[in-house]
Symmetry: C2
Subunit: 258 residues, 2 copies
């Protein structure tokens, strides 16, 4: 096991081209491995800034980050969160400049892959396809977010986010454990097009009806199906907590959140 092995590496899009001979993959168009540098980014620091030239992309090893978009008129909005294993700074359509800024939510470590190295490896069709697939997936996410912000109620949007965070957390091996909200309420609110007070109230309401348990940034999903029902708007979310303790039957068609 190399000294660069990290839990997040196993999910990294670049894992197959990162080090030498990872699997039995001595195909003809094998390239020299990326051998990326690594950097530590303290909480609150900028990984890259919107509008600046793309010089590298940043696979996240540890920590998390938010993407922030600033519109021409100066309106700022969080457009997404990234967790370890994600690649930050990938720009679709060969954009020469970053379309958003990325800011570490906590002390973070990431790799630094020079953009030329990435471009070289894009010559490999399989690799190229996987990178493009990730970009497409991101675009789809943004569109889902647009619909959510444009036409869903606050509770639905928040339920969507919680389910998504949970899904990602589990995909990283988080089992059923409690997850940590790395981002402040204000960032959640910005992403969802709400105020931080609304987010706070909603979290409390979710907790009071037994969907989650939450204290500050410590969160646990208690009733995933219930959250999914809120997301799908089957459950209009009672304004005040009723004494509902009835076990919820799974809806069966669990929607893919986010």
């Amino acid at each position: 096991m190399s000294d660069h092995g990290s839990p997040s590496c196993s999910l990294c899009l670049f894992r197959h081209v990162c080090r030498d001979a990872p699997t039995a993959d001595m195909s003809p168009n094998a390239q020299k491995p990326l051998q990326p540098a690594q950097v530590a980014v303290p909480a609150g620091n900028v990984l890259f800034r919107q509008g600046r030239p793309v010089s590298a992309v940043f696979p996240l090893r540890q920590g998390s980050a938010k993407q922030v978009y600033e519109s021409p008129l100066g309106w700022r909005q969080v457009t997404g969160f990234s967790l370890s294993g994600d690649i930050l700074g990938l720009e679709p359509n060969e954009a020469p400049a970053h379309s958003v800024s990325a800011i570490a939510l906590q002390d973070t470590e990431c790799c630094v892959v020079a953009i030329e190295a990435l471009r070289t490896h894009m010559a490999d069709p399989a690799f190229r396809d996987s990178v493009l697939a990730v970009m497409r997936h991101q675009a789809e996410r943004e569109r889902i977010l647009l619909v959510a912000v444009g036409s869903m109620k606050a509770a639905q949007r928040l339920a969507m986010l919680l389910l998504d965070l949970d899904t990602e957390h589990r995909r990283r091996g988080g089992a059923d454990g409690p997850l940590t909200l790395a981002m402040p309420r204000a960032d959640i609110a910005s992403l969802l097009g709400l105020t931080l007070e609304t987010v706070s109230r909603l979290l409390s309401r979710f907790a009071s009806v037994g969907l989650i348990s939450v204290r500050q940034r410590r969160l646990r999903l208690v009733d995933r199906d219930g959250l999914a029902a809120v997301y799908a708007d089957l459950e209009p979310m009672p304004r005040q907590a009723p004494a509902t303790t009835a076990a919820r039957a799974g809806t069966g068609d669990e929607p893919r959140p986010f």
Copy 2:
């Protein structure tokens, strides 16, 4: 002048590769021209459907269309309008399937460019760059829309759309003439994350304070700077029409709408 010349052709992204020897462009990697087929699409008809394979792209010659996205849970939202001269169906990241549906807002004519032909021409770096630039521009638009829907007031959003429609109309040679809203109120509302009643009321309010004049789908921008001020939220938009007839001084920094 060829029989295919149309006012919209002069703005078309493909104009230089559409017919033979358009300018003195006998460069080495000149390709054979696209020579696209043309089709008529009656109002309300689908140009292509979300999720279906991309077989062609569709430069709009006449008319207009809306893009509609349907989320995995079945929520539908208009994500944009296209006017003559735009290319419909261009998918970023080499997506094999359309990410939205396109529906004609009026009786429409468009060219049909097979995707293979397009890909062939993408070998030309200059052409490729211009196509990618258009895709980037579209992505930027969607992001601006996200911010608008996520954090601006209804009046701001509508002002933004009107300014954008006007800008596009003028870019097509519409001078100062009145423009026609090809889309029903419901589609505007969907795009902006509002209800059609709100859109209607807002249009009436804009008219009553002298920013525009509207009757049904006939629209004229009377005070562009005023609209820009509403967009930028400098002007909180009075709830009831005051008898304000004071001429407005241009704000100077006219923001680029959308």
